[in-house]
């Protein structure tokens, strides 16, 4: 949201220009994005049109935007980097390249500095990772299997692991045979293979909005268009689903119904059934992300969509990354019917197979039963850390509102709309030594300016206290500058 300060020494057109440049530099406005006509933006802002024209002109001079008569004004420049189109060595590039280049996530790397208490990542805490368990499993597997443990595996995956996964799905009410389980490089590859097998470039992907940032990465890389569906306390809404299907003719719907990333919500059983009913009526395949499903620490969630699915429309993707070892990169896709063989072929084209040793070690861990002890420990620790984060926020940033997740890794925080945006806050927060993920990262449409995602499990209780204290300090510092009385808001920006 663009806020103008009419009391400021800075001319209005400079404020507009500065705001737009900031949005371009942070990736909120991407190369190829169209800016509103000067007259419309001037009307929205309640300023003279000349102010907007002047702002656009200076940005044009800087090469950040360009205008073509009759076609409008477009963003051409990507933050610091020169535009990809001028790459002198590799000729012209496919169309999807521009969109990929626009990436706010690169900013997150600033939070990886050692002096930053980082709540931004989607990873469990390092002290949760059972290094000894995996060491034992690898050594056992190498002794038992020898060279077979380091040779090629079939594209479908190591058969005993597929059986063990099918058995664990059975416990959760999902009837899936080992022949319907495809081992993948983490849940990310499971999602990407599902998109690749079912979609062509230009197709529409329905998704919750906000959604997992990695599915937006996939959409950009595969050239498919994400269309968002709002989320409330009961998870992704289903009331507008049918009209969206009729309007957009999507090829696939992506959703994480349980412990949704980033909001932490759980989709109600009623909505799950409603979603499945509508999908069945329209023969719309559903890509269900179950990666946080095991990570429950306050009550049990409803059955997964895959377990409730009677029409055979659900592809279930998950992994062991969030509850065990992200760096092992073992995920899977459970899918019935003839689609399975096609997925296996795409998998083979993509990387031949997931590493044999990692698969066999993961299987050994599952067989030993030690994973479930470990999971109980992780669940308990998450609950403790969630409480620590509630307490710290209440104390240090009471102006904000936040979710109360019953599982998963994330707290979804909403900042007051009359203070700094999450992206503005991020820069200041990193300077003060705390990192988080900005709301727009998770949106299909650049919304979420006042939201941020905190990983509750990445830091211990002391670090949480310290980190949230820094966050509160950063916000209060910026909010003080926002306290000018005469301001106007423009929903567009």
């Amino acid at each position: 949201m663009l806020t103008l300060n009419r009391d400021s020494q800075e001319p209005i057109y400079q404020q507009i220009k500065r705001h737009l440049r900031h949005q371009i530099e942070t990736g909120i406005l991407a190369p190829g994005d169209r800016l509103p006509p000067t007259r419309d933006l001037a009307d929205q802002l309640g300023v003279a049109r000349i102010s907007v024209v002047a702002a656009y002109d200076e940005l044009k001079d800087e090469g950040a935007i360009s205008a073509t008569v009759g076609r409008g004004t477009y963003v051409t420049k990507l933050g610091d980097s020169p535009p990809l189109e001028t790459n002198p060595t590799l000729g012209s590039l496919p169309g999807s390249a521009r969109a990929q280049a626009s990436d706010l996530r690169d900013l997150l790397r600033l939070a990886a500095r050692p002096d930053v208490i980082d709540f931004s990542q989607g990873t469990p805490a390092e002290d949760f990772l059972p290094v000894d368990m995996i060491r034992d499993a690898i050594n056992m597997v190498l002794s038992r299997d020898g060279a077979a443990a380091v040779a090629y595996e079939s594209p479908e995956g190591y058969a005993p692991l597929r059986e063990a996964i099918a058995a664990s799905l059975h416990v959760r009410g999902i009837e899936s045979h080992a022949d319907e389980v495809l081992i993948t490089g983490g849940c990310q590859q499971a999602l990407d293979l599902g998109v690749q097998a079912l979609m062509n470039p230009g197709d529409v992907l329905l998704t919750s909005n906000p959604t997992y940032a990695g599915i937006l990465d996939i959409a950009r890389a595969r050239g498919v268009t994400p269309v968002g569906i709002s989320v409330d306390h009961d998870g992704m809404q289903t009331s507008t689903l049918e009209s969206l299907i009729i309007e957009h003719r999507p090829r696939l719907l992506y959703v994480a119904p349980t412990y949704h990333n980033p909001t932490g919500t759980v989709m109600s059983l009623h909505r799950r059934r409603h979603l499945l009913e509508i999908a069945a009526a329209h023969r719309l395949p559903i890509l269900e992300d179950g990666v946080y499903e095991s990570l429950s620490y306050a009550g049990s969630p409803p059955a997964s969509l895959k377990a409730l699915d009677e029409a055979g429309l659900v592809l279930y993707a998950s992994s062991f990354s969030k509850i065990f070892l992200p760096g092992m990169r073992i995920g899977y896709l459970a899918v019935s019917g003839r689609l399975y063989q096609r997925l296996a072929r795409v998998k083979r084209a993509a990387d031949v197979c997931t590493p044999a040793l990692n698969q066999r070690a993961m299987h050994a861990v599952l067989e030993s039963g030690r994973l479930w002890e470990h999971l109980a420990y992780v669940q308990k620790a998450c609950l403790i850390r969630r409480t620590a984060m509630f307490d710290a926020l209440t104390q240090r940033l009471p102006e904000a509102q936040w979710s109360e997740p019953s599982g998963g890794l994330y707290l979804w925080v909403e900042l007051p709309a009359d203070g700094p945006t999450a992206t503005e806050l991020f820069m200041e927060a990193v300077r003060m030594g705390v990192g988080f993920a900005m709301g727009p990262l998770f949106h299909t449409d650049g919304q979420g300016a006042y939201h941020l995602r905190l990983n509750i499990a990445a830091q211990d209780a002391d670090q949480i206290q310290e980190g949230i204290q820094r966050l509160g300090k950063a916000w209060h510092k910026l909010a003080a500058d926002y306290a000018a009385p005469d301001r106007e808001s423009v929903p567009f920006l």
Copy 2:
């Protein structure tokens, strides 16, 4: 090639039908392929048109082909499986699905039976795999790095491994900085990322013909069209390259100049320079596959294209799979300029990162210097096994001709064109307990009917003797049935 036996008891139309059905079942003719008009095929075969009409009619009744007035006759059936288009649960499928379904490689699985001596795969022998070395490396890494070894890695890869790879490339004359090395899931993912980053569906990919079967998998999965360039004793020809570029406007050229898979040839230095010159003139990026380059056992190959490249047009893909541990799935892509960041983004969308533990273990092995000792052992063993295979072929299948590779894993064998095709031989060979890869697997255009690829390193000398004896027996058995005097050949089929 379709050969008709006019002395046979079997009616001509039945012979035509049997041949077509065989080609459909083995995947040489894929669903969607168009059959020649009956009149044309009758002319080619020198038979009455009614014979072809009758053959087509019976195949139509069996559901293997279908005809639409004015559009021609098409293959509809895929071997044993029902056509994907009838999938009852997942709606209509994107166009590339049909092509993926056509896959002769599935037949190769027959060769994986334990009683079969298998020369078909692209993998080193199990006794080459240094299990102890990797066990030591993994244990060392887990002790040294703890949780960091099993957490997420950056999409670009573990920095010290990228540095070690850059250093090893430097030794081979390739000046590549660690920031230009992207770690991938084996060489296959390196190739796939290169194709994804530079090509859109419908684009043309130039490739040697024959070529690596995995690049044809990628072409199918990504919807790009491979156009082949012939290979002779000096590797891929460059004389027709310029006219192919002008005709097809390709986006990318894929080539493995050194120890080419499947022919084992080495592209001459002259041709390498010629290729680079033409590519530079047309700004055509080259995806170079260097995966066999270290596996030399009779002399040194010329410098890689990447080392000779002055125009910055070469993406160099390789891995440690062929000389070390295929199941670790560690490959890389060395690429200069701004393309690198785009590749890293596609990598992140595809699977976030290559497993941290595998990368760190591979780095430890490189640092220890033990990999190079191991490589010397593998090179020596390959030379011994190559000689064993030469001897066995001379003794058991003198009717064939074969390549004399100075490196790499493969012998490329040409069968006499008046005997069985490689695919016909495969079925009989597997029955007799020996497996190989059929020529058409490696061709962009279904050619290679009389070629087969043997892996020289997959079996020890005794198994080579026994396997080639079985192969000779299978060929001689089938060749006897081909000895009828009155036959005609049709180049089309």
